[in-house]
C-alpha cells in the first residue's frame, strides 16, 4: 500500500455539526517560537490518573528534565527548568477547571542545565512493556486537553484494532497541532510507530482536516520517509466538532462509541498528534515532557503566534512572545472559543492541557445576545453531534427532572456548544446542561447505592436461607438417628455433641 493511496480514506461529511470561521491564519503565518526561560514555574501535580507525590525536598537543586514527582502508576513529572525547589502550594492552573490544585514551585537559575538521567533505548527492539514503562517515566500526558496519562491509555487496549491519532483541531483559533504537524511531521509519524509498538495495535490512522494542505503535504512526506505500511492518513471534513474523540472515531470507523463507553470498547485508542510527537522527541533526545506548544491568539495580541513554552510557565510571562497586548482584551479564554473556559486573567501557569490562550477583543467575540423563547425550530437537534434533543434537555434541566435528563441522555453531551451556535433565540443551552449535570450525577449515585444495597440484601438472604437449610437437615439427621437407635447411649452422645457445638 503506498502512502498516496491512503489519502483515499475520506469519510463523508457528517450530518451533525456546524461550520465555523476558523480564524487560524493569523497564527499559522509565523513559525513556532521557543519561549524565553521562565524565572519560576508552578508544576501541577494532579493528573486524571492520580496525584503525583513529590520526590524532591524544599531547597533542593534540580536540573531540567529531572523527575520531581511520581504517581502510584509510575508516571513521573519532571522539572521543566533547572533551579531550586521552593515548595508545594495550592494554586489554580490553566487546565480548564480553574480550581486550585497542588503545585510544585521551582525557581529557575536561568541556566537550563539538562539532567543526564534519562537515556531510553531503541523502542522498536524493546519489549512493549518496557516501552510502556519508558512512556510513563517520560511523564507523557495527553496533550489534546484531557492530560490523561498516555501509558495508562495505551495499556488499556486488549485486542484492539486501531490507533487513531487526532490532528483535526476543529475549534476556531487553535493552531498548535497544525503547526506541530507542519514543522515536526517526522516526530508525529515516529511517535505513532512507537505507540503501535507499546500497545500492540496493528494499525494507525492519522486524522487531519481536509482544509489544511501544508499539513497533508508534510505528513505525506514523513509517511513516505518512514515507509511503514501500518500507518495511513485520513482527511475529515472541517466541521465542528469533528475533532471530538467520539465523533472522530465514528467518522473513521463508521461505528458509534457506545453510550457511557470509551473508544476502547470498539477497539480504538485516540491520541493527540502532539502526544505522539513528544514521545518521539523523548526517544530521540531523552528529554521528557517538559514543554508544549501553545497558540497565543486573539485580536488583543500584537503578533499572534504559536510558542513552545515550558510547563508551569505563568501565562503572563508568555505575553511578550506574542508581541505583547495591543489593547486590553475584554475576555481571556483558555482553549477554543466554543469549549474553552474563561480565565480571570493571564495569571495562571501553563499545563499540558493548555493548548490555546485567546485574548479576545469585543469586536471578534461579542457578548451573547439576549435570550428569547424557544420557537421549536429543531436546529439544535440537527447540529448535535451526540444526536440528543437539546430543546427537550433544556426543559428537563430547568424543571429539575433528573429522571428525564437521564432518559434524554444528558451523560452523552460533550458540551461542544454547537446547539448554542445555531439557536436563533440565543438560548444558552450548553450552560444549562452544565448546570443540570449535578442533578443527573446525584440520580446516578442514588441508583448505584440502591444497586449495592440490593446486592447486600440478596447476599444476606441467601446466607440466611442456607443457614436455615443446614439447621433443618442437621435436625432431621438427629431425629432419624434417634428413631433408628432408641437407646439411652445414643441420646447421651447426641446431647453431648449438641452442647459441644
Amino acid at each position: 500500500m503506498s502512502t498516496t493511496d491512503s489519502f483515499d480514506l475520506q469519510p463523508p461529511r457528517p450530518a451533525w455539526g456546524i461550520s465555523l470561521p476558523t480564524r487560524k491564519s493569523r497564527t499559522t503565518a509565523r513559525p513556532i517560537r521557543t519561549a524565553a526561560l521562565p524565572a519560576r514555574v508552578l508544576l501541577a501535580l494532579e493528573t486524571p490518573g492520580g496525584t503525583a507525590s513529590p520526590l524532591v525536598a524544599t531547597g533542593e537543586q534540580v536540573l531540567t528534565g529531572q523527575p520531581v514527582a511520581r504517581t502510584l502508576d509510575g508516571l513521573e513529572l519532571h522539572a521543566s527548568i533547572s533551579g531550586t525547589v521552593i515548595g508545594l502550594l495550592q494554586h489554580p492552573v490553566a487546565d480548564g477547571r480553574g480550581a486550585p490544585v497542588t503545585c510544585l514551585e521551582i525557581e529557575g537559575d536561568g541556566q537550563d542545565l539538562a539532567w543526564p538521567g534519562l537515556r531510553p533505548g531503541d523502542p522498536h527492539s524493546a519489549r512493549p512493556e518496557e516501552v510502556l514503562a519508558d512512556i510513563a517515566s517520560a511523564g507523557l500526558l495527553g496533550l489534546g486537553g484531557a492530560r490523561f496519562p498516555t501509558a495508562l491509555k495505551l495499556m488499556r487496549v486488549h485486542g484492539g484494532r486501531l490507533l487513531l491519532l487526532n490532528g483535526v483541531e476543529c475549534e476556531p483559533y487553535i493552531s498548535c497541532d497544525e503547526m506541530l504537524m507542519r514543522e515536526r511531521a517526522n516526530d508525529v509519524v515516529e511517535g505513532a510507530r512507537i505507540m503501535l509498538r507499546a500497545s500492540g495495535l496493528p494499525r494507525c490512522i492519522i486524522a487531519v482536516k481536509n482544509s489544511t494542505v501544508q499539513v497533508r503535504v508534510a505528513l505525506r512526506d514523513a509517511l513516505e520517509a518512514a515507509g511503514d505500511p501500518r500507518l495511513s492518513l485520513a482527511q475529515v471534513t472541517s466541521r465542528y466538532p469533528a475533532g471530538g474523540e467520539r465523533q472522530l472515531v465514528e467518522m473513521i470507523t463508521g461505528e458509534e462509541v457506545p453510550a457511557g463507553g470509551l473508544p476502547t470498547d470498539i477497539g480504538c485508542i485516540c491520541q493527540n498528534v502532539a502526544t505522539a510527537a513528544a514521545l518521539a522527541s523523548f526517544y530521540r533526545t531523552g528529554r521528557p515532557l517538559i514543554s508544549r506548544i501553545i497558540t497565543l491568539t486573539g485580536g488583543a495580541f500584537a503578533e499572534p503566534v504559536n510558542v513552545e513554552a515550558r510547563l508551569g510557565t505563568p501565562l503572563a510571562a508568555l505575553l511578550p512572545e506574542a508581541g505583547g497586548l495591543r489593547e486590553a482584551p475584554v475576555r481571556w479564554i483558555m482553549g477554543g472559543p466554543m469549549m474553552g473556559t474563561r480565565l480571570t486573567g493571564p495569571g495562571l501557569p501553563v499545563t499540558a492541557a493548555t493548548n490555546c490562550v485567546i485574548a479576545a477583543t469585543a469586536a471578534e467575540l461579542p457578548a451573547p445576545a439576549a435570550e428569547q423563547p424557544c420557537i421549536r425550530c429543531g436546529a439544535c437537534a440537527e447540529a448535535c453531534p451526540a444526536r440528543l434533543l437539546p430543546q427537550e434537555l433544556l426543559v428537563a434541566g430547568r424543571t429539575g427532572d433528573a429522571d428525564l435528563l437521564d432518559r434524554l441522555g444528558l451523560a452523552e453531551c460533550i458540551e461542544c456548544g454547537a446547539c448554542d451556535y445555531v439557536c436563533p433565540s440565543h438560548i444558552p443551552l450548553t450552560e444549562g446542561f452544565a448546570n443540570a449535570r449535578p442533578l443527573l450525577e446525584a440520580l446516578l449515585a442514588r441508583r448505584e447505592q440502591a444497586r449495592h444495597a440490593r446486592f447486600r440484601v440478596e447476599a444476606r438472604s441467601s446466607r440466611e436461607s442456607r443457614r436455615i437449610r443446614q439447621e433443618q437437615s442437621a435436625l432431621a439427621e438427629r431425629t432419624r438417628a434417634l428413631e433408628e437407635h432408641p437407646d439411652a447411649d445414643a441420646l447421651a452422645r447426641l446431647l453431648a455433641r449438641d452442647r459441644g457445638s
Binding site: 442514588r446 447505592q449 444495597a453 440490593r454 447486600r456 440484601v457 440478596e458 444476606r460
Partner: protein, 162 residues
C-alpha cells in the same frame, strides 16, 4: 377452501391451548416483573411498607396484593414510576409516611454494651461487632432504614446526616 378453513381452525385451537398453558405457568415472567418493580424501589429496606424489605414488597405488588403507595423513602416519585411501569391507577391517596433521606446510623461507642442485638436487625449487614465487643456502623453501607434503633436495649444508636 374447506381444507384451508380446517387447517386455520385447527392451528388456532392448538396455538390457543398452548398459549393458555404458557400463561398459566408464567413463572419466569413473574420473576422478571418482580425484578423490574424491585429496580424502581429505593432499596432502603426499611420495611415501612409492612413487608420485610424491598423485594417482598415488589413481589406483593406484582401479585396485586399491595397498593403502590406504601414506600416512604421512594415517595410520590416512586409511586408514579411504579404506576407507569405496571399501567395501574394509583388513585388520590398520597404516598404514606415520611422518610428523612441522607442519614446513617451511628453507634455511641461509649454507651454500647456489646449485646449484638442490632446485628441481625440490619438488612444490609452494615454493623460490625460481636457479643461483648464494641459495635460500629459501616457508614458507606448503611441505607438509613432505622431498623437497628428499636433493637438496641440501651438506645445508643442515633441517626445522623451522612
Amino acid at each position: 377452501m374447506l381444507a384451508g378453513l380446517l387447517v386455520l381452525v385447527g392451528l388456532s385451537a392448538v396455538l390457543g391451548v398452548l398459549l393458555t398453558l404458557l400463561a398459566r405457568r408464567g413463572g419466569a415472567g413473574d420473576d422478571q416483573d418482580v425484578d423490574a418493580v424491585c429496580a424502581l424501589l429505593p432499596q432502603i429496606q426499611c420495611a415501612q411498607c409492612g413487608y420485610p424489605g424491598c423485594r417482598p414488597y415488589a413481589e406483593a405488588i406484582v401479585r396485586e396484593l399491595a397498593p403502590l403507595n406504601l414506600c416512604p423513602p421512594g415517595g410520590e416519585q416512586t409511586t408514579q414510576a411504579l404506576a407507569r411501569l405496571l399501567d395501574r391507577e394509583v388513585g388520590a391517596t398520597p404516598t404514606q409516611g415520611t422518610f428523612r433521606p441522607g442519614t446513617v446510623a451511628r453507634i455511641d461507642e461509649a454507651a454500647c454494651i456489646g449485646c449484638a442485638r442490632c446485628l441481625p436487625a440490619c438488612p444490609v449487614d452494615a454493623i460490625v461487632g460481636a457479643p461483648r465487643f464494641m459495635h460500629t456502623v459501616i457508614a458507606a453501607e448503611c441505607t438509613g432504614c432505622q431498623l437497628c434503633l428499636p433493637a438496641c436495649p440501651v438506645d445508643c444508636i442515633s441517626m445522623e446526616a451522612q
